[in-house]
């Protein structure tokens, strides 16, 4: 491996460094800045820097998986299939983290770990669909066929899930989450001005971290394949 100069080193690693820096900043600032003292939510509003970012990362990662699947169907290169699979694993991890942080938050603000809320149900269903994706992969032996079927299911599922997670909550019952057709009184209140920079850097930081995780996972798989 050639040694990289400082400039080249930065060119290679800037996004990883930015990701680490943004996540660190959001953790420290998220726990220390002033937040509005709202009824019900109180200090737990700080969870917005963690919980919401898990979902953003999950959606970003699943979106990347769909793009990889599309590329696979277009070109049939095995790398794209590996990328899609590793992105799905990473997305499931972030989804689980999002559900756990959300359940804790729900317990403190809405009184129980699970409430009947369109967004919660949508999240649970997407996790189920991607687990089904993994089951589908397990049940096919031929490599090329497995990759093709998985890519087709990924695209098919993604479009239906978009309808379920993004469009339906806006037209059906009010969600307890902000950003739905009708705001319910228990909706988590709006963020205050000074929270936005922290929130945005947390979101960007976690998405960059997720990309880094996928990057490492894909490289590991490729190396393993080379060794075989």
């Amino acid at each position: 491996m050639e040694r990289l100069g400082t400039v080249n080193w930065l060119r290679h690693y800037w996004w990883k460094l930015t990701g680490v820096f943004l996540v660190l900043y959001s953790v420290i600032a998220g726990l220390t800045i002033d937040v509005p003292d709202l009824p019900l939510v109180a200090q737990s509003i700080r969870n917005v820097f963690f919980h919401v970012c898990m979902w953003f990362s999950m959606i970003a990662v699943f979106f990347y998986a769909v793009i990889c699947s599309m590329r696979y169907l277009a070109t049939a290169k095995e790398d794209d299939d590996i990328k899609a699979l590793e992105a799905v694993y990473t997305g499931l991890f972030f989804g689980a983290a999002g559900i756990i942080t959300g359940m804790l938050w729900a317990k403190f603000t809405w009184g129980s770990y699970w409430v009947n809320d369109p967004k919660l149900n949508g999240a649970a269903v997407s996790m189920l669909a991607y687990m089904a994706y993994l089951v589908l992969r397990q049940s096919v032996n031929s490599k090329a066929l497995r990759a093709r079927l998985a890519a087709v299911y990924n695209l098919f599922a993604f479009v239906l899930l978009i309808v379920f997670v993004i469009i339906l909550p806006r037209v059906t019952d009010g969600s307890l989450h902000p950003g739905s057709a009708e705001e319910t009184p228990f909706a988590v209140a709006k963020m205050q001005g000074n929270m936005y920079p922290v929130f945005l850097s947390a979101a960007a930081g976690w998405i960059l971290t997720a990309s880094w995780i996928i990057n490492i996972r894909v490289r590991t798989v490729l190396l393993k394949n080379q060794l075989k």
Binding site: L73, V125, L136, S139, L155, A157, V159, L160
Partner: protein, 218 residues
């Protein structure tokens, strides 16, 4: 293309007619499921339970019916189709055939269901439109997932695993519309939901048409 689809559907109908036991099996499936529910529950007065039970029965009937349409194709005949027709025509014929079959079966399920349980639906027209559109949507979605499962080695449980998460957007809408049909609703709102349901059906069909060619080749 249209001609291909027509002939493939006619062929499916002929096969169905020759194997009457399969259709009889589906009817028996409906009757016995509804009867088991009747024995367990005796009386249903709550609309929520009524609609939940009804749509669960419909989902199981459609999984049972639609997954059969690919299982009955054997490998040799499949190679023959590959030389004869295009993947688009093939999936559209399967989807169309399953749509017709599920329309009939879901109406029969409704009839059987109201035979045993009191009919809680007050606005029949709205409910019937919902039922037809909903069973067609389920049939289209299941046609695609059972095509995937069929290529993956033909297991019934895989069809169920793959399609349950994807059935939920449809079912949410259907249960919502059922509640409207059993209670009060405004026409504008009902039309809005029916339109979303229709759009969802169209999306599913377009996706199947685009994606099936990738499953088609070996």
């Amino acid at each position: 293309m249209i001609n291909h689809i027509k002939h493939l559907i006619i062929k499916d109908l002929r096969i169905e007619w020759r194997q009457k036991h399969a259709l009889g099996g589906a009817l028996l499936y409906i009757l016995s499921t509804v009867f088991i529910c009747y024995l367990a529950l005796q009386r249903l007065i709550d609309l929520r339970v009524w609609s939940a039970l009804f749509w669960i029965i419909i989902v199981f009937v459609s999984i049972h019916t639609v997954s059969r349409s690919f299982i009955m194709e054997n490998r040799k005949r499949y190679y023959y189709y590959q030389t004869l027709t295009s993947p688009g025509a093939f999936i559209m014929s399967k989807t169309g055939y399953n749509n017709m079959l599920m329309c009939v079966l879901s109406l029969l399920t409704y009839a059987a269901y109201t035979l045993f349980f009191r009919d809680l639906i007050q606005h029949q027209l709205l409910f019937l439109v919902t039922l037809v559109l909903g069973s067609m949507g389920l049939a289209s979605m299941l046609t695609m997932t059972s095509a995937i499962a069929w290529k993956a080695g033909n297991s019934l449980s895989l069809v169920a695993i793959l399609s349950f998460p994807l059935a939920l957007p449809l079912l949410t809408l259907l249960i919502k519309l059922t509640k409207m049909a059993g209670g009060t609703f405004s026409t504008a709102e009902a039309l809005k939901f029916l339109l979303i349901l229709l759009l969802l059906n169209i999306i599913i069909n377009i996706l199947s048409f685009i994606l099936f060619p990738f499953i088609w080749k070996d």
